[in-house]
């Protein structure tokens, strides 16, 4: 009975973007029962994208990015206390302070954290920082404002590249070290990675690709002074930012029987969590970066997305489904979209560029740094990336949603002739060979080769 679903007790674990939007949606949809949000960070929900942009540039402070609400979610907030466990039979969430919260329905929205540098004693050096939280951003902004001689960024993914961009905009020398063949290659493939590398070098970034950082060194007083690279070279720097991608916050779900692992918590298109046997639950829901969900446009593979927009739309679907019975439930079928601004260009992506075997520049050109790259898999369009051509994104989204043929026909771009470049292999690397984690992971396999076997409990 719908009436029952509008009452009862709901607990949301995770008090960032997905948790907040889910809480608001629950109230908008008529949920009247007690609602509790649990957040490990002591701060109320804040927006993360500005942390690697405006905050590092000093135009906004780290504590100014609190998220606006659509409405007061009328919730009991437990901030500064982590969830440490879950008893799905007794239907209780265990907290680090010893309390346990009963629930009728649970939403898991614990997101991700920065992947740490693997050597704790090196990571503890003064001047070595991650960038994930508001506090991280405040510390890094202070370091940049102090005028370091050089910043070393380990990892050439979106976050690492945006940090390098913020450094160069302020005239700070910066080295980016990436194990893969180029920046952004894990998310965008080889062609646009070359564009990203060209942008970085044109803006004065000391870009080192195909290398790993072997050790971070200090001055004997615990201060970071530089790093050794696998090619034998040494970088002298005052600040080192660890931008190695994200780790999903799933440890608290160990031994719960849920399908929780390094790629996140698996759920169905209605955001209901799976058990480790693939049986769908009906009282545990998942949303945001910590989820992995099947998408029909991408062969029903489970997608893990670290995207702002996905956190919002998936949270809204999960909240709707938490208060509606089966036939009234909605699927989460949004086409993935993300953006990054760096070195004065706006990069936007729709679809899944790594779900591809070929890519073609359909409009604009690499030389102009203004283009649309369209990705295809077995003759259909699966993704598009715009560089300073964001107004075209919707058009290509409709091609993806309708499985339009690849390469897109001349004229498909509304009068703009298709640039006479043949499609080339999309050159999507095995994520294992990268410093940065891709922000979209096909968690089963890439279309043309099996990459990962996910074992429950591993």
């Amino acid at each position: 009975m719908p009436g029952d679903l509008w009452e009862g007790r709901i607990v949301i674990v995770g008090a960032s973007l997905a948790g907040l939007r889910a809480a608001e949606t629950l109230r908008e949809e008529g949920f009247t029962g007690p609602l509790t949000l649990v957040g490990e960070e002591p701060r109320p929900p804040y927006d993360r994208p500005p942390l690697s942009k405006q905050v590092l540039l000093g135009t906004t402070t780290a504590d100014a990015t609190r998220l606006p609400t659509r409405r007061d979610p009328d919730a009991d907030w437990r901030l500064g206390v982590a969830a440490t466990g879950l008893d799905p039979l007794a239907k209780r969430v265990l907290l680090a302070d010893g309390e346990s919260l009963p629930y009728d329905r649970l939403l898991i929205a614990t997101g991700t954290r920065a992947r740490p540098w693997p050597h704790p004693e090196q990571a503890a050096l003064d001047g070595v920082l991650p960038l994930r939280t508001s506090d991280d951003a405040a510390q890094l902004a202070d370091r940049l404002a102090a005028g370091p001689r050089r910043v070393l960024v380990i990892g050439g993914g979106f976050t690492g590249s945006e940090i390098a961009s913020a450094c160069r905009e302020q005239g700070i020398e910066v080295t980016v070290a990436e194990r893969g063949s180029g920046p952004l290659v894990g998310a965008l493939g080889g062609t646009l990675s070359k564009l990203a590398a060209g942008l970085q070098r044109a803006h004065g970034v000391d870009l080192r690709c195909g290398v790993t950082v072997t050790a971070l060194s200090g001055d004997g007083k615990g201060r970071f002074t530089g790093a050794g690279l696998s090619d034998g070279s040494h970088i002298d720097a005052d600040v080192c930012v660890i931008a190695l991608g994200a780790v999903r916050n799933v440890e608290w779900l160990a031994d719960t029987g849920l399908a929780a692992g390094p790629h996140g918590v698996a759920c169905d298109a209605g955001c209901r969590a799976f058990t480790m046997y693939g049986i769908v639950t009906d009282d545990v829901f998942v949303a945001g970066d910590v989820s992995r969900f099947p998408h029909p446009l991408f062969d029903y593979q489970l997608l893990s997305l670290e995207h702002w927009g996905n956190a919002v739309t998936q949270a809204e679907v999960a909240a709707h489904n938490m208060v509606h019975p089966g036939p009234h439930r909605r699927p989460h079928l949004g086409v993935p979209v993300f953006w990054s601004t760096q070195f004065g260009v706006n990069i936007k992506s729709v679809g899944v560029p790594t779900f591809s075997d070929q890519v073609v520049i359909a409009q604009g050109s690499l030389a102009e740094r203004r283009l649309v790259a369209v990705y295809g898999y077995r003759g259909r369009v699966t993704a598009a990336v715009t560089v300073n051509m964001a107004k075209w994104l919707e058009h290509y989204q409709s091609l993806i949603e309708t499985a339009a043929p690849f390469p897109p026909a001349p004229g498909a771009a509304d009068g703009h002739p298709l640039v006479a470049e043949f499609p080339v292999p999309s050159d999507v690397p095995d994520p294992k060979g990268l410093s940065h984690g891709p922000t979209v992971a096909l968690t089963g396999h890439l279309p043309d080769r099996r990459l990962t076997v996910v074992r429950p409990g591993s």
Partner: protein
């Protein structure tokens, strides 16, 4: 008051940049950067910007009062 811009939706029509240049600016041709905490004397301009946004990407609201009960 706080704002957040859904940059998934933003297509850089830049109406907000014209209406509230102290809060919104473009980096390059179309990358929007903005100040999330709106000063009181900019609030009316930001409201106009939100209303004028062709893709309705600007959300204005109070920061959540995250109190324990």
């Amino acid at each position: 008051m706080q704002i957040v811009v859904d940059l998934t939706r933003c297509q850089a029509y830049a109406q907000c940049v014209f209406l509230a240049p102290e809060v919104f600016r473009l980096s390059g041709e179309e990358a929007l950067l903005y100040r999330p905490d709106v000063p009181d004397d900019q609030l009316e301009r930001v409201r106009q910007a939100a209303a004028a946004c062709p893709v309705q990407a600007i959300l204005i609201g109070e920061a959540v009062r995250a109190d324990a009960r």
